[in-house]
């Protein structure tokens, strides 16, 4: 049974659909060339995240202050 099971699992349960490679390459053609994420790229992401978090905190603080003033 083990050999039979192995044989069953080794056979491809799904075949590659016709034209798959061409579809992938067509999608690749529409995308920019791959590029390594540089340190300034990460810096930009982190700076953006920090600024976003600052904005959210500012908004939350504003809501809290307004609610406190009316309470």
């Amino acid at each position: 049974m083990d050999e039979e099971l192995d044989a069953l699992l080794k056979q491809p349960l799904l075949d590659v659909p016709a034209g798959f490679e061409a579809r992938v390459m067509a999608a690749v053609a529409l995308r920019p060339a791959p590029a390594r994420t540089t340190w300034w790229g990460w810096l930009a992401v982190l700076t953006g995240a920090a600024l976003g978090a600052w904005q959210v905190l500012g908004f939350a603080l504003g809501v809290w202050l307004t609610a406190s003033a009316h309470g």
Binding site: L8, L13, V16, A18, F20, A29, R31
Partner: protein, 188 residues
Amino acid sequence: MTSPVPALDIPALIARILQGERAGFAVLVRRYQGPLFAYLGRMGLSPGVAEELAQESFLRAWRHLADYDAARGAFSTWLFTIAHRLALSECAHPLRRAQQPWNDEVHQPACEAPQPHEALMQQQRRQQVQQALRALPLADRSVLALAYFEELDMAAIARIEGCGVGALKVRLHRARQRLRKELEQHHG
């Protein structure tokens, strides 16, 4: 799926792709599309969903190709890690999209089809195995799906699964037992 393939210098090919030889990526797609579909089939995914995930795996690999480091592992391990995460996410949220029907008329294989009777029997057996696989817990399916791609050794599968080799062997043994039981109980 697991037939021997000519040796391919993947790091050199990736270096050429990164220098602007986009067509080189087709060589990678051609090399790994079969194993990837076989893997997604063993994960119990329908042809339509498998195609979407396979395409997304290759596109993510393209996007992050410059970050691939051959010193940290084989390209196949890296690519299958991407596909594995996508497949686990898909299996964990099966209602995220409408289930696509199993219809081979809309999913013609690229390879030459066998004789009709043989093809029918083969298709029936495939469906039985897939049904049995889908009845297994996701963790079992996952480990079985990876274990039958010859290019991935136990260490590579353990890295993808995020466990030790010893634990992986135990999980694989149990998964095979459950699958055997499932096939015997429901599919003779």
